[in-house]
């Protein structure tokens, strides 16, 4: 989530409403002015809440940078501290603007619930905010509606984490339907659910819908699906694809690392990058765990292990 961009857009749109019709050029000028100094344009409680969240997210992200230097206990303490700090800011944002769905969502996500209570909270939020009508066209274009889409995408991911795969599919599908360009990557959640449900038809359909745009998720989902269907030749080829086309995919799979929960949505990563591979493996974790011999099978592929080792060496990662 780019909270600053959204704050700028919110402030500019309110201004435009106040001062009446503007030409496109004039509106662009206004946007530039707001972007140069968003804080001076913040006026309503809603905007104050968004501003608070934008700052809190900046502080949170900045505090993540030096983690590599910490030992386990210090890391855990630091992690707890920064999530509590983010949580406290979300509570404050919500006190400023109770109707801020983002603040409500972030307060839940930073509470570190297990999948079931988290899902209950998310569904409760959907109920509380159900009166907001979705806009016409691509819902992502409406900055005021984006929190709903983030919430729905979080529902989909939480369902996946809580072994509710049909629900994950339908929640992800509703995000894809509302915003066909899928900037939130709900298709990734959908693809993983298809893999777990061994639903090849749907996996093919979602691939085709997004013009076979590759990602670490699409390669990993395909590999898992074919493994589960016991089409081992095809599964091996898909694994090779994951290894060759996703940077560090082999390493991410064989040396999974802790990935922090998403606040509030998946961090941006270039398609098929190492960062994306790490995220895809983390999201697929419950599905991988449900196929007990999948990782041993991967470990048995010498070329995969070799590729992971080479990647580790090239990046100075432990092996």
């Amino acid at each position: 989530m780019n909270a600053w961009d959204e704050l700028v857009e919110r402030c500019a749109i309110r201004r435009r409403r106040k001062i009446g019709p503007l030409s496109d050029e004039a509106y662009q000028e206004l946007l530039l002015a707001v972007r140069a100094d968003p804080e001076s344009f913040v006026d309503t409680t809603m905007e104050r809440a968004v501003l608070l969240m934008a700052r809190a997210l900046d502080a949170y992200r900045a505090s993540c940078r030096d983690d590599d230097l910490l030992d386990d206990d210090a890391y855990e303490a630091e992690r707890t501290r920064r999530i509590s700090a983010l949580h406290a800011e979300c509570v404050r944002a919500r006190e400023i603007d109770e109707s801020s769905l983002d603040a409500n969502l972030m307060q839940l996500l930073t509470s570190e619930f297990d999948p079931d209570p988290l899902l209950e909270g998310l569904i409760g939020l959907e109920r509380d905010f159900a009166s907001d009508e979705p806009p016409e066209g691509d819902a992502w274009d409406d900055v005021f509606y984006r929190p709903h889409l983030r919430l729905r995408a979080a529902v989909a991911r939480t369902c996946l984490d809580g072994a509710r795969y049909r629900m994950a599919q339908s929640a992800a599908a509703s995000v894809m339907d509302a915003c066909p360009t899928d900037p939130l990557g709900a298709r990734h959640t959908y693809a993983l659910a298809c893999a777990r449900l061994e639903d090849e038809r749907e996996l093919n359909a979602v691939d085709a819908r997004f013009s076979r745009r590759e990602s670490a998720w699409s390669h990993l989902a395909r590999t898992l699906l074919l493994y589960k269907l016991d089409r081992m030749g095809a599964s091996t080829r898909a694994l090779r694809g994951f290894d060759r086309l996703c940077a560090g995919g082999a390493y991410a799979l064989l040396r999974p690392t802790f990935v922090e929960a998403y606040f509030p949505d998946r961090p941006d990563a270039p398609a098929c990058s190492f960062e994306e591979s790490v995220l895809a493996v983390r999201e697929a974790e419950p599905i991988i765990a449900d196929v007990p011999d999948f990782i041993p099978w991967c470990q048995g592929q010498e070329w995969l292990v070799e590729s992971a080792r080479r990647f580790a060496e090239s990046r100075d990662l432990g092996w």
Partner: protein, 350 residues
């Protein structure tokens, strides 16, 4: 129904005995048959039998050792029993290289992983089917009526058990569609489901969140299992899982209450959620509606219970089920959660 190795051993020899008597004098035959029971129990070697019959008898002994004695053995006894089981099975295979039961049971200790075991069973399933069908065609050629049906059933059972093992192994491997397909193949070969593979099928459908498939299976119970409706703990637990997966907590609770109402001691078993080794010969024989039956279903249901990313590591459904069961009967739950004796969980032969 379930497979009963001792009974099957008896059926094999009595069928063979009866066939041999048919060729002689009917009065002498009646007299001779009266002595069959005693001879089966005390002087087995005096009865006519083939090497396949002898091999099967060794399988029966191995099943007793591995499935019914090993789970209750002490750490000191266990290695001896395991070795005894292996020796019996190896001897069975040397007597009858087509003893599919012995080959199948032996494969579980010979294969290094569950996936390798699955592969072993999957790769040979067709071969085993062909072999059993050939044995069946030979066995029934001169028989009629009940004997013909019994001979056909006995000849096919090793294949049925093979497919039941394959379905269960596929389920454990996370290959739920393969599990469902194996179960359907078995049901096509044995529509009365001597192996109770419909239980495994119910779990595979629940894993696939196939609500229609499960409803359809329930409708088919009338044919598959005319004497017992769809109230076994497998189908009930599948319903609990499906309702829970669609966040229908009231529905899941209602199914769980039904399970707890039907099965004595259910709360304890649902809180403990103990995983037991699967029966090697076949699913262990337990009394319908017994606590043991529920314990088996919960053990096989680990694939449903232990899924998802909850921090307790019991699985999202497992945590919910334990919590709800404890709410229904707090005293039983406290007892179940208390320090357990090593012999407190297990399945007794009925």
């Amino acid at each position: 129904m379930a497979h009963n190795p001792q009974r099957e051993d008896y059926q094999r020899l009595s069928l063979r005995f009866a066939r041999e008597l048919d060729q002689g004098d009917p009065v002498a035959a009646t007299r001779a048959f009266a002595s069959f029971g005693r001879r089966f129990a005390q002087d087995r070697d005096s009865l006519p039998q083939t090497d396949a019959d002898r091999a099967f008898h060794l399988v029966v002994l191995a099943a007793d050792v591995v499935d019914y004695r090993l789970p209750f053995a002490t750490d000191e006894q266990a290695p001896g029993l395991i070795q005894r089981g292996k020796d019996l099975l190896d001897e069975a295979i040397s007597l009858d290289p087509a003893c599919h039961d012995a080959i199948r049971m032996r494969s579980s200790s010979k294969t290094p992983s569950i996936d390798a075991r699955y592969r072993f069973l999957a790769d040979r399933a067709e071969e085993v089917r062909a072999s059993c069908e050939q044995a069946r065609d030979e066995a029934v050629s001169e028989l009629e009526g009940e004997r013909r049906a019994l001979a056909a059933s006995i000849a096919m059972r090793p294949y049925w058990r093979w497919m039941a093992s394959l379905a269960e192994e596929a389920l454990i491997c996370g290959r739920n569609r393969v599990a469902a397909e194996a179960a359907e193949k078995l049901l096509a070969s044995d529509p009365r489901d001597c192996s109770d593979v419909r239980f495994t099928l119910a779990y595979a459908l629940a894993k696939l969140e196939d609500e229609e498939g499960l409803a359809d299976l329930e409708r088919r119970y009338a044919e598959i299992s005319p004497l017992r409706g769809a109230d076994d703990p497998w189908i009930l637990l599948s319903h609990v899982a499906l309702a829970h997966k669609r966040c229908d907590f009231a529905g899941a609770r209602a199914w769980l209450e039904r399970l707890v109402g039907l099965y004595p001691g259910a709360v304890g078993a649902l809180v403990r959620q103990t995983e037991l080794p699967d029966g090697e010969f076949a699913r262990l024989r337990v009394s319908p509606y017994s606590e043991d039956e529920l314990i088996l279903a919960v053990s096989e249901g680990i694939v449903l219970l232990q899924e998802g990313n909850d921090r307790a590591g019991r699985g999202v459904l497992g945590t919910w089920v334990a919590h709800e069961a404890a709410r229904m009967d707090p005293a039983a739950a406290r007892e179940a959660a208390g320090p357990s004796r090593p012999d407190s969980e297990g399945v007794q032969r009925p």
